[in-house]
């Protein structure tokens, strides 16, 4: 059997039920894909989280505000707001705190809720702010080592150990 739209053999046999009677359509793989892909409405929800973020955040922001916002950086991991809204991924747990105002409407848009319900870890069930501090200390440690400031590096190491030890 040949494809109804070209000369290739028909490998797809589609039964159309939308009319008054079932209708048989015979197509080759390529034509069938085009046929089945006929969008009743195009939606590109998946894969475009970054776009969704970008759009949401732009709303209600003047160009200057957005520019100022874009330059803001997380004191812990150093990610700028610009980077987050372009890649759609956060840099560290503290971003949820330092960009709270901007992330909140996003979270509402995605989940329709703002408060976690469900499982809590046995340890640090009230949050892990203290551990977040280690991320900053490690970053400073790397910088101190880079600058060959070994005195500061050693102090930072002690601080990290102290938090990790608790």
């Amino acid at each position: 059997m040949k494809c109804q739209q070209c000369e290739k053999p028909a490998t797809f046999h589609i039964t159309e039920l939308t009319g008054s009677e079932p209708e048989e359509i015979h197509l080759c793989e390529v034509c069938a894909q085009t046929y089945l892909a006929q969008p009743e409405e195009a939606d590109e929800v998946s894969g475009s989280l970054a776009n969704m973020l970008a759009e949401q955040i732009k709303i209600g922001q003047t160009a200057e505000d957005l520019q100022r916002l874009d330059q803001r950086a997380c004191p812990i991991c150093g990610i700028t707001f610009y980077e987050f809204r372009h890649v759609g991924r956060l840099g560290c747990p503290h971003d949820y705190v330092c960009f709270e105002e901007e992330i909140e409407p996003l979270v509402v848009n995605i989940h329709g809720e703002t408060e976690h319900v469900g499982k809590r870890p046995k340890r640090s069930a009230k949050g892990t702010d203290k551990q977040t501090e280690v991320i900053r200390l490690r970053r400073e440690l790397a910088a101190a080592v880079e600058k060959e400031d070994y005195e500061q590096a050693s102090e930072l190491r002690d601080q990290i150990k102290e938090i990790e030890g608790t």
Partner: protein
């Protein structure tokens, strides 16, 4: 355990058993977790990422009941081996293609896997054959507890488990059920079903495919929301919609049988005929035809093949699997020939296959 040993076997989720297994292939749950003391992957230095991998590896290896787990350094694997793990759904495409220290720990029965340094530091995944989310939850909850005994996960009093992407924050949980819906595809009702699922906050994705493109008419239904609802509630939401989808698919199959029996039987028989006799065949065509055959077997239109055999063929005819099973690398053209031979050997069991295997 080596990858070659995995290749000849079949993961738990393909066993083809469990409730409603003619339509429901598998149930899976994954949890996204991050270590509290490290930045998310995006901002991890090379050293950070290595430290995360090391910490998680040490934790996994310290659990005595997990001594059977196989740990793969994904970074050190060949491309074909990474592809192999993707085809088996043990790691994600993103995980395979990423860079830097990353790994996966796999349970010998492939009931669960731990992906390290994917989008989050840790992705725990549990798979069950058929429709069995309750069991999957019980297991994954326990695995999470075990890891949490030694490591501290990033957690916020109000927002819950913190994840690299705000779409996973809260429970960090994605519940999904994989369904085989060929009749809804043939009768072109699938798009309609998807839209109504989206309206109630559920996402639908095709197997291996991006967006709504599905290979072999396999679709995964999962929760979109992860925050503000307890794990049990999220599971219930997916769990309750599945019987409806099963019913729609059964109705569509009944319709095809009653209104269009010859055409359906013809479609199924032709698909079987091509799979049994082709000399060279692409992966796409194989998936497409196997889908018809699978439905045909379930409807009693074809005898003498078992559903688990067909389930296995869906995986074993994928590019990396063919190469692992054959033990050599093959280009596309050679793979198509190898695939045709593989199908012949496994579908024409009683006839010349035994001779073939001896040779």
């Amino acid at each position: 355990m080596r990858l070659e040993q995995l290749a000849s076997k079949c993961g738990e989720w393909l066993r083809g058993s469990g409730p409603e297994s003619d339509i429901v292939i598998s149930s899976r749950i994954r949890l996204a977790r991050n270590l509290a003391e490290y930045p998310f992957i995006r901002k991890c230095s090379i050293a950070d990422q290595e430290a995360v991998e090391k910490a998680l590896r040490a934790c996994v290896e310290s659990v005595s009941s997990w001594s059977g787990l196989t740990y793969f350094d994904v970074n050190a694997l060949e491309e074909v081996d990474r592809q192999f793990l993707v085809e088996r759904q043990l790691i994600s495409r993103e995980h395979a293609d990423a860079e830097g220290a990353r790994a996966v720990a796999i349970d010998p029965e492939e009931k669960f896997s731990l992906m390290i340094n994917e989008e989050d530091h840790l992705r725990i995944q549990v798979m069950q054959s058929g429709l069995d989310l309750e069991n999957a939850w019980e297991q994954i909850n326990q695995i999470d507890d075990v890891i949490e005994d030694t490591l501290t996960f990033a957690f916020h009093d109000r927002l819950g488990y913190l994840t690299a992407c705000p779409t996973n924050v809260g429970t960090g949980m994605r519940v999904s059920v994989m369904l085989h819906l060929p009749a809804l595809v043939i009768t072109r009702q699938i798009e309609k079903v998807f839209r109504s699922l989206q309206k109630i906050g559920l996402a639908v994705r095709g197997l291996y495919g991006e967006g709504s493109q599905a290979m072999g008419d396999f679709y995964q239904v999962s929760n979109q929301v992860t925050l503000g609802r307890a794990e049990e509630v999220l599971i219930k939401q997916v769990r309750e919609v599945v019987p409806l989808l099963i019913e729609y698919e059964r109705k569509a199959r009944d319709f095809l049988i009653q209104e269009n029996h010859e055409n359906l039987h013809d479609r199924v028989s032709r698909a079987y005929g091509i799979l049994c006799t082709a000399q060279t065949i692409s992966s796409e065509e194989t998936m497409h035809l196997l889908s018809s055959v699978r439905m045909g077997v379930n409807l009693g239109l074809i005898g003498d093949i078992e559903i688990p055999t067909i389930n296995k063929l869906f995986i074993h005819t994928q590019p990396a699997h063919l190469q692992k099973l054959r033990g050599i690398e093959l280009d596309t053209a050679d793979r198509n020939i190898e695939r045709a031979h593989y199908l012949q050997r496994h579908l024409n069991r009683d006839q010349d296959s035994q001779e073939f295997e001896k040779n």
